[in-house]
Symmetry: C2
Subunit: 319 residues, 2 copies
């Protein structure tokens, strides 16, 4: 009974979630290790490999595992390395051949890609991109990530790093400063962080507006605050989503002109803002799309559970 299950690993800056996934996309067993507490890639890989083997043993699934899929920040699918991941202490300035290391510890074949690509594979195997050959997944979290599938294959580029759509420049003059050191990047506007930033700006620009968001003074505003204010029909909060949706929608028109996807799937925290984001986004796409593409690309919200999707997507790499 060889290869009825795969291991999906979702590596975040703080924790690494591990799951055993069956062929139907059910996570049958889970565990977790810390990501950041190791001082070298080798010690992390050993801990991860051991945690995987322990999980398999506990589940009594020895010899039934087809392989391991790893979704990581700055993961390079071409060479299986974690390359200069700013949020991982042991990989900040280094190229760590994590896939090969985990293979060696576990004796199981291992594939690695970045988290947004893993999300795209997850949508293709278990989500709303089932059966699609051309689609884009946009992950809207702290930043904006993307996984692009064309001709049924992930676009990874010659160096393994294609799909950095969060760093498309959307504002050419006086754009917001981005974590990447440049200005005007899409993710400084269209992300959870971007929404909070827009809200803070709008509160300053419109001092007379009586938004409920003004009552939050004890801690930094979050995109969740803005969403909850919008649910209460707060005018400023709704304007924040209008602004965000318009900028994202304009960018999506450009993405369609590039790869003409059948669907663009929005994934992650901010995607749950639903119509507050979708209404202005779709309005600008209807208005500005190049004629030949008008009305052809579906905008979908991922139906996968955020916490599980990353494990499922990574695991799907291993099938």
């Amino acid at each position: 009974m060889n290869g009825l299950y795969v291991i999906g690993v979702d590596m975040g800056g703080t924790n690494t979630a591990i799951g055993i996934v069956d062929a139907r996309g059910t996570i049958v067993s889970r565990s977790e290790i810390s990501t950041g507490e190791y001082s070298t890639g080798q010690s992390y890989a050993e801990a991860l490999g051991k945690a995987i083997l322990d999980l398999i043993a506990q589940a009594g699934l020895q010899n039934q595992i087809k392989g391991i899929g790893l979704g990581t920040p700055n993961g390079n699918m071409n060479n299986g390395c974690l390359e200069k991941a700013a949020n991982i202490p042991w990989a900040k300035t280094q190229i760590v051949p994590l896939s090969a290391m985990v293979e060696q510890v576990t004796g199981l074949p291992c594939k690695l890609t970045n988290d947004a690509n893993a999300a795209a594979i997850g949508e293709k195997e278990y989500g709303c991109a089932k059966g699609m050959k051309d689609f884009i997944v946009i992950t809207l979290g702290t930043g904006l990530g993307s996984g692009i599938v064309s001709n049924g294959q992930l676009i990874v580029g010659h160096d393994g790093f294609a799909g950095e759509l969060g760093h498309i420049t959307v504002v050419r003059n006086n754009g917001r400063l981005c974590g990447c050191g440049r200005t005007g990047c899409l993710e400084t506007y269209a992300s959870a962080t971007g929404v909070a930033r827009t809200a803070r700006e709008f509160l300053e620009i419109y001092p007379d507006n009586k938004s409920v968001l003004r009552s939050i003074a004890s801690r930094p505003l979050t995109s969740k605050d803005v969403y909850e204010a919008a649910l209460q029909e707060d005018e400023l909060a709704i304007a924040v989503f209008d602004y965000t949706g318009k900028i994202l929608g304009e960018a999506l028109c450009d993405f369609v002109a590039f790869s003409s996807p059948q669907a663009i799937i929005l994934f992650g925290g901010l995607a749950h803002a639903g119509d507050f984001l979708l209404r202005p986004l779709k309005a600008v796409m209807d208005k500005q799309m190049l004629n030949v593409f008008a009305g052809k690309t579906q905008i979908l919200i991922s139906q996968l559970n955020d916490a599980e999707a990353a494990i499922l997507g990574a695991g799907a790499l291993a099938w």
Copy 2:
């Protein structure tokens, strides 16, 4: 001796060039028919098919032709149709299954794609993209076309029309009106027409500048005029190329963030402006590229003869 040659067809708005191409990429025989003088797609397809068969017979190459490749405006590789091509009278408002029609007339297998995709295939087979799996060809003519290759395959999208990079929006406010009806499209700036337009604008904006271009009053300015003025070290003409190169270079940074190509190949009339265009283009790419891609993507000028490349590229479809 079956299949030693292919037929390459380059269909323009006025004329259609036909060539017999050998396996090394030499055009061994050529002919031409009018594109526009037919009233229906069927009558054009019959004339084209007959011209192809005549050319084969004259060359004595019956039974040695592997197939036909067609490069056309608005060609859809997914279904072999010419779809609503604005410059072709008999296809202006229609979807013409040209590939199937030409197959029927000639009895030879036929493939069709748009001209920029044909240029990309030509570069891959015979030009500077030989051996590359990830690259983009940008055709700089009257407009700006693009052929995108990722994972060794053309990106055509779910509808066959991917790669409309001329219609990426580069100026969001008060952008130039584009032939597509929208404003701020890349091709209104970075194309032969765009260069001429920028020159006319600069002549107006800087009335005191003593550009040699002011002496051209009897006819509309062309990009060739601007190039020749730049060769004479005309300050305004050089500023026009600086402006064009900067806008194109900024857009190329976004394209790199999308598909991370090994090279971007510039093709067509305006590409011959060489360093006048390349210097400002590369300067802005060096300055603005996302760190992970810095210095990785080569910018190349096509070495293929413009007149032959379209036939070669179309023909390469048929191998």
